[in-house]
């Protein structure tokens, strides 16, 4: 039944797509399109995005298609030279396009589309909007691009004897958070689905025994919709959420704990929410060719799940892009990416004046390394197309001048990168290379001695497939890999609003974003590249993840970018209404100057009180590898500060002040 609702919805969406000229078997003009594409708030880059007959089309073997499918948990089956392109959605729905046919088959229903896939210069193109709709994605057109998001497509109520079950069906693997507001008058459960749009109506009457009603609302920017289910429950009712499939979820409401389990037969559906039929859907059933009768998943081309790092069980094809391997597709016109190698083990041998860390790999890898200048001195190595087996961990070395060594799966999208960070208390010389007589062993020697004065600040290297001699010694003083990039972190967001001033209706997460966006504009005007950890009201990390992962996700954005600076923007608050003014926090002693310079400039530009710089072990300024500060921009709890924070002009001044501080500290971005 749920599948049927989802399927009808797809039919409706497809029919709403404007019908244009139908072209079959004729030369098709294709012009390159530079639009940006976002999927669930993440930018997906396409190399073969083009415009044809007024519609965006995309090359079928574009890595962007593979990345899009990976994000929504869908799979593609396509043999070059054949007429069929078959997609399997995460909920099992089969979608079949046929080359030259203006019809798409969605499970057993055939639906007309303006034009189907076509070959041009030997490349197969598929219409992007038709594909997105068939995949059950919400499509938002903005100036310069498209944003796609999966949707909640059905919400159904089932009433049992002692409980109410709400079935939720989506078009992509569900991620959610739940919260409970125990207000005595209106206790409410809220289930939040970040990154999901709503196509399942707006309210459901829940009868009044366990709960009164369920309200579905969409929040967030169109590029990153967030759907909230608020369930107005009776007092004493408990809720359990059971994942019943990757795209489906059952919420059970019951008074007794033992009724919350999903082990009994449910009653017949009594209420169903459906989309509002705004106009009669003009379905045009056509004689669609039947696709290949059986569709088997590609055994050798697994589509990894999104972050965090997937379990890597097969190093032959588990590449981040999810592209089929040449063996799987029979032929591959594009160069295949290098295979993923695993780091199976990490060991240490200490001597009096050096420590050797040995990484045991399953094959050859390439790496790059960077070293920060005094007084920071950190040294890090990024190993490309590598998967760390086991959790991120600290590696203990006995060298007195090394405070810590950490290794982690730093990145999984678009590529797998393992990062090893050495944090010394004074400059140390580091050598990286293959270990003689030990194939697939990468050795990292940390010496107690300082590096030579003329040593470079960064470099690259490879661990060859079979190596007999060590790589030339590398060591140095370094800088960031992107010295013109600054990462700004708007504090809190999504389910964590931060501090709130009820009287003025001020929410910390909204203010931090407003300041960060202004700061971004200021810095870009000055020639910097800027990355925001979030550009809407949502969590940066996995919305189902815990709060620790959320903080680490912000650090990951910065660390993955190789930025020069990390600036975390917050608003302060206190139990007492007394405290006011700005405070800039730093953790590493080497960041004190950056904090002081930004504090001075921001206090001067904004006119807010100067509460000084402070050293505190805040997570995001500890776990980012570049110079990092966290600015608490005035107090929401102070009447004077809150009055200022309610004024957009004050937010402008704060942003201008922080930008000035960055200029004072750096002297501006490096010349191109």
């Amino acid at each position: 039944m749920m599948r049927c609702v989802a399927r009808l919805l797809v039919c409706f969406l497809l029919s709403a797509w404007p019908l244009g000229a139908v072209a079959q078997g004729i030369a098709t003009p294709v012009t390159r399109l530079n639009d940006q594409i976002f999927v669930s708030g993440r930018e997906v880059r396409f190399e073969q995005l083009a415009m044809s007959r007024g519609q965006p089309v995309v090359g079928i073997d574009d890595s962007g298609v593979a990345n899009l499918l990976q994000i929504i948990g869908a799979k593609m089956q396509y043999e070059p030279g054949t007429r069929f392109v078959v997609f399997t959605r995460a909920d099992g729905t089969l979608i079949s396009f046929t080359v030259g046919s203006n019809a798409v088959s969605v499970d057993d229903t055939s639906i007309a589309i303006p034009f189907g896939p076509f070959y041009e210069d030997g490349q197969l193109y598929v219409p992007l909007l038709g594909l997105s709709h068939a995949l059950g994605l919400f499509v938002h057109r903005f100036r310069g691009g498209y944003a796609f998001a999966p949707q909640i497509v059905a919400v159904q109520r089932h009433v049992g004897q002692r409980r109410t079950v709400i079935e939720i069906q989506a078009t992509a693997p569900l991620a959610w958070r739940s919260a409970y507001d125990g207000s005595p008058k209106h206790p409410t459960f809220t289930i939040t689905f970040p990154g999901f749009a709503n196509a399942a109506g707006s309210t459901v009457d829940l009868g009044g025994r366990e709960a009164r009603k369920l309200v579905i609302q969409r929040f967030g920017p169109p590029g990153f919709p967030i759907t909230n289910l608020s369930i107005d429950v009776m007092r004493g009712i408990k809720l359990a959420a059971h994942r019943t499939g990757s795209t489906s979820l059952d919420l059970v409401l019951a008074r007794n704990e033992h009724d919350l389990a999903l082990n009994t037969v449910l009653a017949t559906p009594s209420v169903q929410v459906s989309t509002t039929p705004r106009s009669a859907p003009s379905l045009v059933p056509t004689q669609a060719p039947t696709p290949a009768p059986t569709v088997t998943p590609q055994a050798s081309a697994p589509v990894p799940t999104a972050v965090p790092a997937p379990e890597v069980t097969d190093n032959s094809g588990a590449i981040a892009s999810g592209s089929p391997s040449p063996e799987a597709s029979g032929a591959s016109p594009s160069p295949s990416p290098s295979p993923l190698e695993k780091i199976m083990d990490v060991s240490v041998i200490d001597s009096a004046d050096a420590s050797r860390i040995t990484l045991s790999l399953t094959g050859p890898v390439s790496f790059e390394w960077h070293r920060l200048a005094e007084p920071d001195n950190r040294f890090w190595i990024d190993i490309s197309q590598a998967a760390l087996i086991g959790p991120a961990r600290e590696i203990t070395v006995k060298l007195a001048t090394v405070r810590s060594v950490k290794i982690s799966q730093h990145q999984v999208l678009p590529d797998h990168v393992v990062r090893l960070i050495i944090d010394p208390s004074q400059p140390v010389d580091v050598s990286i290379g293959a270990i003689e007589g030990a194939p697939n062993q990468l050795g990292i020697d940390i010496h107690a001695r300082p590096p030579p004065e003329d040593a470079p600040s960064s470099g690259v290297g490879v661990l060859p497939a079979v190596s007999q001699s060590p790589q030339p010694r590398v060591a140095v003083t370094a800088g960031p890999s992107h010295p013109n990039l600054i990462v700004i972190d708007p504090g809190h967001g999504g389910n964590d609003p931060g501090a709130i001033n009820q009287q003025y209706g001020l929410v910390e997460s909204h203010l931090t974003l407003a300041i960060a966006q202004r700061l971004k504009t200021n810095l870009e005007r000055a020639g910097w590249h800027v990355v925001l950890t979030r550009d809407g009201d949502y969590e940066v990390g996995d919305p189902n993840g815990n709060d620790d992962q959320e903080l680490q996700a912000r650090c990951d954005v910065a660390n993955a970018s190789g930025a020069r600076l990390f600036i975390s923007v917050h608003i302060n608050s206190s139990f007492s209404s007394g405290p006011s003014g700005l405070t800039t926090y730093f953790w590493r002693p080497s960041d004190r100057t950056l904090a002081q310079v930004i504090q001075n400039a921001t206090a001067r530009a904004s006119g807010a009180g100067d509460a000084g710089v402070k050293r505190e072990n805040f997570y995001v300024i500890h776990h980012t590898v570049m110079p990092s500060v966290l600015i608490e921009n005035a107090y929401l709890s102070n009447w004077h500060d809150a009055t200022l924070l309610a004024q957009p002009a004050f937010l402008d001044r704060l942003a201008a002040g922080i930008a000035q501080g960055i200029k004072d500290y750096t002297g501006g971005p490096p010349a191109p």
Partner: protein
């Protein structure tokens, strides 16, 4: 838990003899790093986890005077403390672990006063904070790193 705190709070009112070395509870002034020392006299029989529990109960209750300018734990905060070796382990529960919506300044003040108070007890050098029984990097919605034991050095400027 509240009952336990109430019992120990009750004990303090009946102390008449054997004043042990005074217990000092540190409160933090809001918006600053300044600590306010409040001395208590406790029964000398109160030692180890029981003494730590008493100190914690006074921290949660807040000072009896001058409360307006003192960082208080959010209403509804529950906490238990146990000591082993030189580490006091404080397990936070209640409203504070659902979502901390105070500012970074108060958060630091809270943990600083907790650390100073408990490390002022005989033999205690550090404080391990647990959030609903588990080690966490920070409070939900929080800023300060608390996965490692906190010491007075943690708050050194």
């Amino acid at each position: 838990m509240l009952a336990v705190i109430a019992i120990f709070a009750g004990c303090s009112r009946h102390v008449t003899v054997a004043p042990s070395p005074h217990l000092t509870v540190f409160y933090c002034k809001a918006g600053s790093d300044d600590l306010v020392r409040v001395p208590f006299t406790v029964d000398s029989k109160l030692t180890g986890s029981a003494l730590a529990t008493y100190a914690l109960s006074q921290m949660l209750a807040g000072p009896s005077v001058g409360r307006d300018s003192i960082v208080l734990f959010p209403a509804g905060t529950e906490a238990t403390v146990s000591t082993e070796g030189d580490v006091a382990t404080v397990d936070l529960n209640g409203s504070i672990v659902r979502s901390f919506q105070g500012g970074a300044g108060d958060e630091v003040g809270m943990f600083k006063s907790l650390t100073y108070t408990l490390t002022g007890l005989p033999g205690i050098k550090s404080v391990q904070v647990l959030v609903a029984g588990q080690r966490k990097a920070a409070l939900p919605g929080g800023h300060l790193e608390i996965d490692e034991p906190l010491t007075r050095d943690t708050f050194a400027q």
